[in-house]
Amino acid sequence: MRRLISLLLLLIVALGIFLCFSGASFGAEGASRAGKLTEDKVNFGRRYASRGLEENKAGNIVASVVVNYRGFDTLGEVTVLFIAAVGLAAILHARREEATPSKAEPASLIVFTGCRFLFPLILLLGAYIFIHGHLTPGGGFQGGAVVASGFLLIYLGCRGRGLRSAGVAVAESLSGLAFLAVALVGLAVGGSFLLNFLPKGSAFALFSGGVIPLIYVAIGFKVGSELGGIIDNLSGEAR
């Protein structure tokens, strides 16, 4: 019964969505077919693609959109992740007090050593990704996620060597504050929040794009520490 009703409802929704695509041009593809893609007005993504390079001197337009044009979204998004990390810790807080610390089987020496060997490399890779975010695909989120996967590895391979929560907290706080500070300096210097106030350098160089790499680094740290914190909390390692 329930399945039937659900299917019926989803059918109506699907029909509605299907009919959406029957009409006028849709999406960038539609605009491109209609030949309107060159107009900035039709699609402002266009403008970023055409002018983004000279405005921000960052090769990766997506980075420039994420950090500069739509940087405010990114701030909100980092906040969301922060909320998730904090909220998760709060929800699991009571459990942590109840739980008796269980002795986990230590991993074999090979795995242990392998993990310890790989861990710095993974961190390095993550750092590379977020430092080069304005040049190549990748950026704060991806790099942060890679860093977090390093912590995951540590958890899996080297039981009992979790993160130090104070350290995580400091990293979270400071990277978030760094992001905000950069944004607020923009407000103070140029009257606009998140303004790209630094000299932008020449495109395609590592030191280019003004504040974009700075912010990406901050995001990288923040995302990394938050995801790391989430993994740490969920893995249920009692400390």
Binding site: L10, G27, Y48, S50, D73, L81, F204
Partner: protein, 119 residues
């Protein structure tokens, strides 16, 4: 074929969304429901990126100054999707922590049995 090339991604993403919704609607298991939400989120992300895609476009990344911006796909949906992915994982983590706590309290993940609050 041209139909397929224009719409295959849309078909894919909306299938994902509908499957996700169906899972949420029908499955009583909390973790299954979360999987459904996750599927739906993936579908939505795919949809957003597809919206910005141009047939035979290039990625919105300049690797040299001479590159022309004309054929590039729209970077904005990609930026949006980056945001959406992170939000998705945040919600997911929170949801799973709630699921763990629910299991602690009720000893089950069957939402039909977790009805202390109703009416």
């Amino acid at each position: 074929m041209s139909f397929l090339s224009s719409y295959i991604h849309y078909i894919g993403c909306f299938s994902l969304i509908l499957i996700g919704l169906y899972v949420v609607l029908v499955k009583p298991n909390l973790i299954k429901v979360i999987i459904g939400i996750n599927l739906m989120g993936t579908g939505v992300n795919l949809f957003l990126v597809t919206v910005g895609y141009i047939h035979a476009g290039t990625a919105p990344i300049f690797s040299e100054a001479a590159q022309q911006p004309e054929g590039m796909v729209d970077p904005v949906p990609q930026a949006l999707v980056l945001t959406a992915i992170v939000i998705g994982v945040a919600v997911l983590a929170l949801a799973l922590s709630l699921a763990i706590r629910v299991y602690d309290h009720y000893g089950t993940l069957d939402l039909r049995k977790i009805k202390a609050l109703r009416w």
